[in-house]
């Protein structure tokens, strides 16, 4: 049988990779991909805690479902912003997006 720590380590590795992607990538869409990886890692944790905890409590799965919704909303708006930016400034490099910097 697989013990809980396997899943947690797996999720931690996925989360760290996602974090690296978010911090290191130039392209705004690649950053969004990193965020998706991190959200997936969180979801693995949530479901693993549901599975190893009290099965009568479905909370872990409900949280995961809500995370799906939030991820979808985030991607939809994020990519729309990227497209809109590209149209105005012909660039998707996150460093060059400095309209609100001062």
């Amino acid at each position: 049988m697989i013990s809980l720590s396997w899943f947690l380590i797996f999720a931690a590795a996925l989360f760290s990779l996602g974090l690296y992607g978010v911090l290191a990538r130039k392209n705004a869409i690649a950053i969004l991909m990193g965020i998706e990886l991190m959200l997936n890692a969180v979801n693995i944790n949530l479901v693993a805690f549901w599975r190893y905890g009290d099965l009568a409590l479905i909370t872990g799965q409900v949280f995961a479902v809500i995370v799906f919704a939030v991820a979808a909303a985030e991607v939809a708006v994020g990519l729309a912003l990227v497209i809109s930016l590209y149209r105005r400034r012909s660039s998707v490099v996150a460093d060059e997006i400095n309209l609100m910097k001062w």
Partner: protein
Amino acid sequence: MLDNWLYIGLFIIAAILIPAVAVILPRWVAPRKPNAIKQETYECGMETVGDAWVQFKVQYYIFALVFLIFDIETVFLFPWAVAYDKLPMFAVMEGVIFIAILLAGLMYAWRKGALEWA
């Protein structure tokens, strides 16, 4: 439960392996005589101008976007439908409100003209 998924896992392997064999097999059966003209991008005999990247309408993105929102909301309704026997009338109405919100989103996209192609 996991047995059924084991079958699906094995089915995935079989469903990838057998078509892969069918694609790889002609490597030995079929002739292989590549030449520059044959490997060219096919445009009915015209010389290719520029690269394959063409400017796409943002419309494609809008349709995918509306689909994404609808897809995820529909998926939420599936557990509601499965648990239907155990739900009181109130819970049924919750689902109907959910569908109404969905319909409102569709109406917005419609009125905004986001669903027009031209």
